[in-house]
Every structure is written in C-alpha cells, then in structure tokens.
C-alpha cells in the first residue's frame, strides 16, 4: 500500500519548499489590504519549518526524519534560498535547519489564563526566510530544479516515504506552462508512491478562501485553477487527518490551499505516536 513507509532517521523523507520571490509578490493579498503576499509566504514558510522542526524535536536535538530544501524563485533565477550558515545548500537535514535559523525572535501571543481571560506569553519564533519580491516568476525553472534535487535524493532513498514539494506562490508563472513541469515532478516517486506536489496560493484577487478543495469550481481565477490542477490528490491517510481537523474531504481532495493557512499540513505526517492532550 502506498504512502505507508516509516519515516525515521534510517528511512527519512524529504520536503522541498518552493517560494515565489517575484515582483508581483509585493502586492497585498486579496481582501486584507494590509498583508503583502511576500510577507505572507515568508511567514507561512517560517511557521512550516518551525512546526516541522518541533515535530521532530527531542531533548537537546531534532531528529533527522526529514531532509529539507528551500528554493526561491524570482527574476531569472531559481535556487537555494536559505541564508546564514545554510546559504547555497540545496538540501539540509531538519536537525541542522533547526539549529541554524537566521535569528530567533521573541514574539508575544495571547494565551488563556485559565480563568476565562487572556494573558500575554512570550514565545520564540525562528526566522529562516525574509520576505523578498523581485523580477519575473520562473516557476517552471523552480519546478525543474526541484525535480533534479528529488531525482538524486530518490536514488539515495528509494524506499522512503515519498518526498513532498510545497509551492508557495501567487501563481503568476511567466516562464512557460507550469502544468507540464509539475507533471514531471509528480512522475517521480519512491517504492512507496509518487512525489506529492502541493500548492499554497496567495492571491490579490480575493474571493472565498479554500483549503484542500476537491474541485476547481469556485476558484476565482485561472492562476488558482492552474495551481489546483498542478496539485496532487491527498493520499488516504492525509485525507483522514484533514477530516479530523474539520475539513470536508473526498477522494478528489487536492493538496491545494487558496488564501488560507497550510501549516496544518505538518500534522498530516506520521513519525510515531501523536501527542494529543487528554488532560
């Protein structure tokens, strides 16, 4: 049965994050008028990397259950987007990534005080990616770069849980047809199944947000529909987790999110007994 391989240090999986850093990302996200798309995707990516690190965290270390690539695309280039000590590296282990953020900020969030009110709590927030917006949108080039990275990785880990590619973008590719490049990425696979390609679409168009839809009907524009078509269906176990989180799912549900939060994706990954509070 596909998508059942154990994820462990001996048998890791792989994440490739593709982040759109083109000039159009400077525009505000639809409906908000406040947040800009490049800030939204940088924040989403930092939270994804944070939650992935925490998922693998143990005392004094993060276990290398995943190898991670972050590809930035904008202008004429598509290449490694991590900075600091990780600059220029295509793939890094999640343990190294966790230990090498650009900085760790301290942010304040509201938490329940146990008496019906809220109190401020200061939490650590690691930052790996800064908002960036520049030039054209070479999405096909980024997909091809992902394909090359994954082909080499799969040759090394042929029995692993299949890699996941997550593209964070406004969808305005201008270096060719991303459907074809995406298809080539999805044709790659391990013994456990095909590579999963998911998309987070942050758009200025507005309209209703969508999380893991099973149809392109209702999506507001051609960019959204193209990204939906590029996205892999969620494997059955991920559909189950999505359903547990309250999303409406069917066998056609795709790994696609429109102007909403995709960080819950990390909770779809199994690395062992889940920590669910009972008391």
């Amino acid at each position: 049965m596909a998508y059942t391989a154990e994820i462990s240090r001996a048998n890791p999986s792989c994440f490739v994050f593709m982040v759109d850093q083109s000039a159009s990302m400077i525009d505000p996200i639809g409906g908000s008028g406040l947040q800009h798309k490049h800030e939204v995707v940088a924040d989403a990516l930092n939270r994804l990397l944070m939650e992935l690190s925490i998922k693998c965290a143990k005392e004094e270390g993060v276990r290398d259950y995943f190898h991670v690539a972050v590809i930035g695309y904008g202008g004429s280039t598509a290449g490694p987007a991590l900075g600091g000590d990780l600059r220029g590296q295509d793939l890094v282990s999640i343990g190294l990534l966790a230990d090498k953020p650009l900085r760790v900020e301290h942010r304040t969030k509201k938490i329940p005080d146990g008496a019906g009110g809220l109190v401020d709590e200061t939490v650590s927030f690691p930052v790996w990616i800064e908002p960036l917006a520049n030039g054209a949108t070479p999405m096909c080039k980024a997909l091809n770069r992902s394909k090359d990275i994954l082909a080499a990785w799969i040759a090394r880990y042929p029995r692993s849980f299949p890699p996941i590619v997550l593209n964070l973008t406004d969808g305005e590719a201008n270096d060719g047809d991303p459907l074809q490049a995406a298809d080539e990425v999805r044709r790659l696979g391990t013994d456990d199944g095909a590579v999963l390609l998911f998309n987070l679409h942050v758009s200025s168009t507005g309209g209703a947000s969508a999380v893991f839809p099973d149809t392109a009907a209702g999506l507001p524009d051609a960019y959204a529909r193209t990204l939906f078509e590029m996205s892999s269906p969620l494997p059955p176990h991920m559909r189950n987790y999505a359903a547990q989180q309250g999303y409406s799912v069917s066998s056609e549900t795709r790994g696609f999110v429109y102007n909403s939060d995709i960080v819950s994706l990390v909770q779809f990954l199994d690395i062992g007994t889940r920590a669910v509070a009972l008391r």
Binding site: A57, P101, V123, R274, V276, A277, R279
Partner: protein, 272 residues
C-alpha cells in the same frame, strides 16, 4: 505459590538505547530476571512515551515511578486515579524547571524548539497492574485461596493473561485493526477533567497457579493480537525468550515485517 518476572526492552531499530522512550517499574523491585517474586503481591507499571512529545521519556519514567507506589485504590476507581495523576501533574512543572535550570548551569540552555514545547507538556500511555498471588494450601491452612489482579489502562499498552495454554483475557482488549498512532494518552498538563475518565479502563480478575501475564507496549501488543487472531499462540514464543534470546527474536521478527518498528517493552510474570 511461586513466580518469576522477566523484563525485556529495546529501542526502535535505528535509535540508540538512550533514545528508548518507554518506561517500566516493578514493585517490589526484582534484583535480576528469574528471581523469585518476594512478597504476596507485585505491581507492574509500564508507560509508553509519545514519539512527538520531546520530554516523553521523562514523563513516562515519572508516571511508572509514581504508580509503583500509588495506593491500590488508584487502580480501582477513577477518583483515586485522578488524585494520583493530579499529584504527578503538580510535580511535573517543578521537574521541568529543575531540568531547564540544570541545562543552563551546564552551559547548554534550552534550544528554541524545546522552549516552544516545554509548556505543551508531555504524553504517554499507562498500564498499571497489581497481582496478588494465590496462597498454596498448607497443613495449617488447607484451603486454596485464589489470587486476584486489578489494573488500570489509558492507551494501548496491554496485558495478556494465559491460563492452561489459552488466552484468558486481554486488557485492554484491542482488535489489531484498532492499533494506530492516536492512542489515548496521559498528559502532564491539566486541561480537560472529563476527557481522561472517558478514556480510562479499569478491570480485575483472578490469579491462579500456572498463569502467565504479559504486559506489552503497543508494537508487541499488536503483534501478540495479530498472532491470536490468526489462531496462533504467541505466548509460547514469549515464554521462551530467555532461551531464544530477546534481541535475536526481535531483530528477526522486525526484519520479517511482522513487528512494527517501535520501542518495545515486555514484562512477563510467570507463576509456577
């Protein structure tokens, strides 16, 4: 009535021994496997720390340590159980503060990801069982007194009782299809006072001469259950692990794909 206890444990394949996140405690303690059980009753406590919970091994150790000394009533009614868990939960923040302070003192302060999750608490399954051994008839007391057991379970750590070469019962009785990655767990933080009782199982039964009890964390419990569902008698193998060699058997069973790769704990109480 005489008996022996054998304990077996191993970390997940690919992990080092110090990454084992189950915990177990036998009270009164046995000095060595196969030593005769001292006293009239024994308490076996086993906890399985949740993989996604960074401090799970500490929490599992704390749970089994406290439950080895908890009143029997904590295994018999939910009110007393909650009282014990409340006390352990109250100790947990102090334990973590001490741990954080010790890290700072040693020049290795908590990393950002540890700081992020330390407040989320830790999680583990728990099974605690007390076995009171039957008394053999003597010339002074010719009647044969039956022994009894009480147990509490939260999650998928299981106890199997064998009598006359048959499975007398499993506690909790979980069909193989229902083992998964989302068992009920005991958390270190107080959140929902109603949820835990809803996921707590308590049971009791008799103890007789010749019985075997096997307490297993989930991977082994699943293997045991699957074997039984196929009409096999897995206890015949587990009884002979001293002779077969636990490490060899575990390695072969994992490689055959018959046992999920996870930490494994087995406590075998053998009453002769």
């Amino acid at each position: 009535m005489r008996g022996s206890i054998f304990s077996y444990s191993a970390s997940k394949h690919g992990n080092s021994p110090d990454e084992y996140e189950d915990a177990w405690c036998i009270s009164p303690p046995i000095l060595a496997d196969a030593d005769e059980i001292a006293g009239e009753s024994i308490r076996v406590s086993v906890a399985d720390g949740a993989s996604e919970s960074p401090f799970a091994a500490r929490w599992a150790h704390m749970l089994v340590g406290k439950f080895s000394a908890a009143p029997l009533a904590a295994l018999q009614n939910v009110t007393d159980l909650l009282g014990v868990l409340d006390a352990i939960g109250a100790d947990w923040p102090h334990a973590m503060e001490s741990y954080a302070a010790s890290r700072t003192l040693s020049g290795r302060p908590l990393k950002w990801y540890e700081e992020r999750v330390i407040g989320r608490g830790a999680f583990a399954t728990l099974l605690a069982a007390e076995l009171t051994l039957p008394v053999s008839p003597t010339s002074c007391s010719p009647d044969h007194d039956e022994g009894y057991w009480y147990a509490v379970s939260i999650g998928d750590t299981c106890m199997f009782q064998i009598r006359d070469d048959n499975l007398l019962g499993a506690f909790p009785a979980i069909p193989s299809a229902e083992f998964g990655n989302n068992p009920a767990l005991v958390g270190s933080n107080h959140t929902d006072r109603e949820f835990l009782p809803a996921h707590t199982l308590m049971h009791s039964g008799s103890v007789a001469q010749g019985d075997d009890f096997f307490v297993c964390t989930d991977a082994l419990a699943l293997w045991f259950t699957e074997q039984v569902e196929r009409g096999c008698k897995p206890w015949t193998v587990l009884r002979d692990l001293q002779a077969i060699g636990f490490a060899e058997w575990l390695d072969g069973t994992r490689r055959a794909g018959d046992l999920r790769n996870d930490d494994v704990t087995l406590i075998h109480v053998d009453l002769w």
